[in-house]
């Protein structure tokens, strides 16, 4: 063989193996922890499918990444306030729920949500859920805070943080006594905006990522904030910072993340194997152990969690789940909410 022929053969070989691999590799665009090696490597061995994960920092990352051109990602995990947008943007395809073994075990409350359905078909497989709880630094309070109003307390000036997200409007609206947070009128949004402006001089920093909030507590910059229940408090506990989560008297929002299949994926077989795994004990306890979130399949959770973890994650506590105001798609009201929040930040 001449060198040229050898190189040609090598290139051809490389090309053919890479195409052969393509059907066995799935690319997931997801949150950190949802595709953690601690359980994904077991899946890869059992299924023969390889998983590549790209992480998002916020729900706002899904649309721009998918808009930039298709063919890259096979599966995504937007939260319940973004899933409808994915469906309306025509980025995802209906699920064949018959191919998902544990579908019927999912909490009925989640299967009843509008955000993951359209025209009688399901587009999202509920995966994990939790509360947007509030959190305080133990050492800073002699009497623990109980209300959203504590984030407006002038005594805490410069020690308050709030999530840089449209959800701040939900928080301010509840403080104002408007409980219809996903259906606010223009006046109610304006009132929420005014409340946030009133709070702004007290705010040290609006937090944008989970890591940023952890850093703010660690560096002693803030003592009270909202949080993704279970996640940042777990990271802080690991760092030896003592914080406590609480559900304020005004209630807390609930979130739920679903796996969605990107339209036209060529890797359907592996994608469905992956969905099945994520709803099984392997995936459900895998993510619960990494992120500290509650999961959507209580049967799997019961089988793989210790009784303490099962109770701590409110897996058998319908009252807790029902008390959460689970995020809803805002549809064409979305702009009014984001615009109000942007106006607060612009001031």
């Amino acid at each position: 063989m001449t060198p040229t022929k050898l190189i040609t053969a090598g290139v051809l070989l490389a090309l053919s193996t890479s195409t052969a691999l393509a059907g066995n590799t799935i690319n997931v665009l997801t949150w950190e922890g949802y595709s953690d090696p601690s359980f994904i490597s077991t899946f890869e061995e059992q299924s023969g499918c390889k998983v590549n994960a790209t992480y998002v920092g916020s729900n706002d990352d899904f649309a721009p990444k998918l808009m930039a051109g298709g063919g890259v990602y096979d599966l995504i995990t937007p939260s319940i306030d973004t899933t409808k947008l994915m469906i309306d943007l025509d980025f995802v395809e209906p699920l064949d729920t018959a191919k998902i073994d544990n579908w019927d075990k999912i909490y009925p409350k989640f299967l009843g949500l509008d955000g993951i359905q359209k025209d009688g078909a399901y587009y999202g497989m509920p995966y994990v859920w939790g509360a947007i709880a509030f959190m305080y630094l133990d050492s800073a309070f002699s009497t623990p805070p109980t209300s959203i109003a504590d984030l407006w307390n002038p005594d805490l000036k410069g020690k308050i943080s709030l999530w840089d997200d449209k959800s701040s409007i939900y928080v301010a609206a509840r403080k104002n006594g408007d409980m219809n947070i996903y259906d606010l009128s223009d006046e109610q949004i304006a009132k929420a905006q005014a409340a946030l402006l009133e709070q702004k001089p007290l705010v040290r920093k609006y937090w944008a990522t989970a890591g940023e909030l952890v850093d703010l507590y660690k560096a002693g910059e803030v003592v009270i904030s909202n949080t993704w229940a279970g996640y940042q408090s777990g990271l802080l506990a690991a760092e030896g910072v003592k914080v406590t989560e609480f559900i304020p008297t005004e209630g807390a929002e609930g979130w739920m993340d679903s796996w969605m299949v990107v339209k036209g994926t060529p890797n359907k077989e592996c994608a469905y194997k992956f969905l099945n795994m994520q709803l099984s004990e392997l995936g459900q306890c895998g993510v619960a152990n990494i992120n500290g979130y509650s999961v959507t399949n209580p049967a799997a959770a019961k089988a793989c969690m210790s009784p303490e973890q099962y109770a701590a994650l409110h897996q058998e506590d319908p009252a807790y789940l029902d008390s959460l105001m689970v995020w809803q798609p805002l549809g064409d009201r979305f702009e009014a909410y984001t615009n109000a929040w942007n106006a607060v930040k612009a001031q």
Binding site: S58, D60, D61, A63, P64, M67, L85, D88, L89, G158, D165, K166, K200, V203, R204, K205, Y206, A208, A219, G220, E221, G331, D332, F334, E335, T338, N339, N342, A343, K345, A346, Q347
Partner: protein, 288 residues
């Protein structure tokens, strides 16, 4: 044959950069301009030709506010950089006798450019924080007895961080401009009875203005478009234009409005650049 080959070479040498500019500069600008006339409709946006996005920018106070704040921060950064960089460059060129020391000091200013921007911005967080180095120092020397939170997460922190990051772009052109001034001009001015201050005022400073203009342009434009400092060390009142553009392309999914903002920013930067260009040419022609 040789003629064809020569033409081909010429076409390649000129053609590739031209293609590059067309493909990676003009085309993207064209796309942004086009988007800026489109209209937002749920779930995304659709083609249109209307000026609604530009109108929003100038009627909704939130955008004017951010624009003015960005101008203010960029001006403050340029001014602080100038006040620090000019005496430093002056010392290096005219007062520093040892060539080795001069090279060493010059490198000390330039060297941070080789360190990642993000890392340098992060470092300021650990310096300015409530439990940071600055507070520990002030407390240890007894100037304050409680850690202060006035250093981080506000516009002051942004100006400090951006000045630190962009100051090399002010030092380099001023140094070059000062170095080009023939020494005999100052000597002549002294011979004619001018004191050192008046010589500086009437000879050195005017001759170095093109360098100052270049430095101002660089630091202004760089901080005008900055996105990271507000995110890392800015506080609740630290949103700049680039952050608002990012929000429009991300969270708000309003690419048309984001594009209109980007075009306004581009116009501001281009007018600054052309103004400084005119100033430099005037300086080169000696028309002060």
């Amino acid at each position: 044959m040789t003629l064809i080959r020569r033409n081909l070479a010429g076409a390649l040498i000129l053609g590739i950069p031209f293609l590059w500019i067309a493909l990676f500069m003009l085309l993207p600008y064209g796309i942004i301009v086009t988007y800026s006339f489109w209209i937002k409709t749920y779930p995304t946006f659709k083609p249109a030709f209307q000026f609604g996005n530009y109108l929003t920018l100038f009627t909704d106070p939130q955008y004017l506010q951010v624009m003015l704040r960005t101008l203010k921060i960029a001006l403050l950064v340029s001014l602080c950089s100038f006040l620090l960089a000019y005496p430093f460059a002056f010392y290096l060129v005219f007062r520093c006798k040892s060539a080795a020391l001069r090279t060493w000091l010059y490198m000390a200013v330039i060297a941070p450019l080789w360190v990642s921007y993000l890392l340098r911005a992060y470092v300021w967080k650990t310096i300015l924080g409530t439990e940071g180095i600055l507070n520990s120092f002030l407390m240890s020397v007894g100037i304050i007895d409680q850690p202060s939170d006035i250093f981080l997460y506000n516009q002051f922190a942004m100006v400090v961080t951006l000045t630190y990051i962009f100051i090399p772009f002010m030092v380099m052109p001023i140094y070059t401009a000062l170095e080009k001034i023939p020494l005999n001009l100052t000597e002549a001015s002294a011979d004619l009875g001018m004191g050192p201050w008046r010589s500086f005022w009437h000879v050195t400073l005017p001759l170095s203005l093109p360098g100052v203009a270049a430095g101002f342009t660089l630091t202004f434009c760089l901080s005008f478009g900055d996105f990271v400092a507000p995110f890392l060390v800015g506080g609740p009142d630290g949103n700049l234009m680039a952050n608002v553009i990012a929000t429009q392309f991300g969270a708000a999914l309003n690419w048309p409005l984001g594009s209109a903002l980007a075009i306004v920013m581009l116009v501001v930067v281009l007018s600054i650049v052309s103004m400084s260009d005119r100033l430099e040419r005037k300086g080169a022609a000696g028309g002060f």
